[in-house]
Amino acid sequence: MAIAERGYTHWQGTLGTGRRPWRVIAGQAIRLAWKRKFFKLVLFGSLAPAVIFAAGIYVSERMEDFKEMFKGAEKFLQTNPAYFQAYFGSSFLIFMMLMIMVGSGAGLISDDLRHNALPLYFSRPLRKRDYIGGKFASLAFFLLLLTLAPGVLFILLKLIFSGSFKFLAEYPWLPLAFIGWSVFISSFFSLYTLLLSSLGRNRRYASILILAVYFLSTVFFGIFFGIFHEPAFCLISIEMNLRQLSAAFMGAKPQFDVPWIYSFLILSAIMAVSVLVLRKKIRGTEVIR
């Protein structure tokens, strides 16, 4: 019998106090993103390089079998830090991460602002950090699928195909580098997306901002670098900063002769600003003073 036919009835359970609301928010955001066909297409497309690089690891261990097929490409198929830097620092991967942010993150906060959902969230026992953390976790989840998950897979495949631990003995820091870089770039893109999503009440506006800020920074870098030929201008480009830093994490030679610490500081500053703005923008009610 429907409850309406017998009036309001009470729930017999007890509300939990030890639950983590950020998990609920993250789960809901992941499910919502997964509903979109465009997003699924982008996500699966983004995994294509990981498949190719995994195949490359297999080929590198069976060079004798593929000698004819990959003649002249032997040096690109050596599984060393530069090989992994080619994956983690590739423009394509970074671009696809950006597209995933557009697909799953642009509306995360702007939709809540547009449809006044924040008072509903904060009328629950929820802190700002739970809300921001939940949204952050949903984005980081997808990004880690593109970075950490392939990284772990690469190491496992290398160990399986080589049949020895020689690779880990040569580069014992590499697993940590994979974890460190995956966490850093996922955190950066997640916070960058949440920041831009919180600036307006329109998902499209947020999407344009996410793409525009990223690409304009690279366009300006191209213009200044073309005029002055000064590598330090790479610091104004988000993409170049990410690539410089990925090279530093992987122990590979960076593209520009600029200390990686500057890129680290710039990207960290953007993350810090994002957290500050989010803490200020996210509240249960809009207060205009």
Partner: protein, 303 residues
Amino acid sequence: MNIELRNVRFSYGPIRALDGVTLQIGEGACGLLGPNGAGKSTLLKILLGFLRPESGEGLVLGHDILKDSFGIRRVVGYMPEDDCFIPGLDAVAFTSHFGELSGMPRAEAMKRAHDVLYYVGLGEARYRLLETYSAGMKQRLKLAQALVHDPKILFLDEPTANLDPQGRTEILELISDITSKKDLHVLISSHILTDIEQTCRSLVILNKGTVAAQGELAALREVRFSLYEMKLKGESGAFLDGLRRRECRVEETEDGIVKVYLPQTVEQRDVFRLAGEAGIQIRHFVKSRTSLEDLFARTVGVD
């Protein structure tokens, strides 16, 4: 007392929204009445911990509004004034999501979401995307999410706003059913007098950020003033002026009836004495039930 506030003040910049609000709200359904800008929504937001008062203190079901907003939010269901939803979700996912956020286990939240959606009349539409809901359905949905975790007290902010007469009647019926439960209390903020009159037993009237009146609705109607309807014969100008001088409010209707609101300081015999002095006859003299509209107009000082 369910809610107690003492000397609560809050300002939006230079505009003082609440100015020393002190009130006590008991059990059952209580109306929070006031004209637009009186501070009703601000008061609800302070009770929920969305806004921190500049001064003052208060308790909601024993939880301190300054120190224990989490405790308050566990026992309160809040239905905001504006349309609120998450695009891309259906009503079941939406309602269970907020049940989970309140601390319900996922499976329980899902089951309860179905129950409350049936209860508010959205059972058939519970798998439709929220973007396709009408204004009335969104209003019911807000009520469902406020009820999902079985709160002890409901804060309803303008629950009948933007509804057609049929939708308004249905929402009020739901609220009346909810308030019939002895262990579920409701605070309804509204500027629609008949809504409050229909659903509430007690009342707080806010005006310009201060409490203009509070108490049981029946008592408020009686205590503040008495309303009489009269028919007069003769030149009534001097008589009515005499009443006004004694701080009585006088209204003349089109059908020749004079409504006189007598403050507690003026008695019936004073009216007849004034009539005698003015040389007019009172042909009809009936004590009338004071409507909430009258009470509101007198308290807030508007016609």
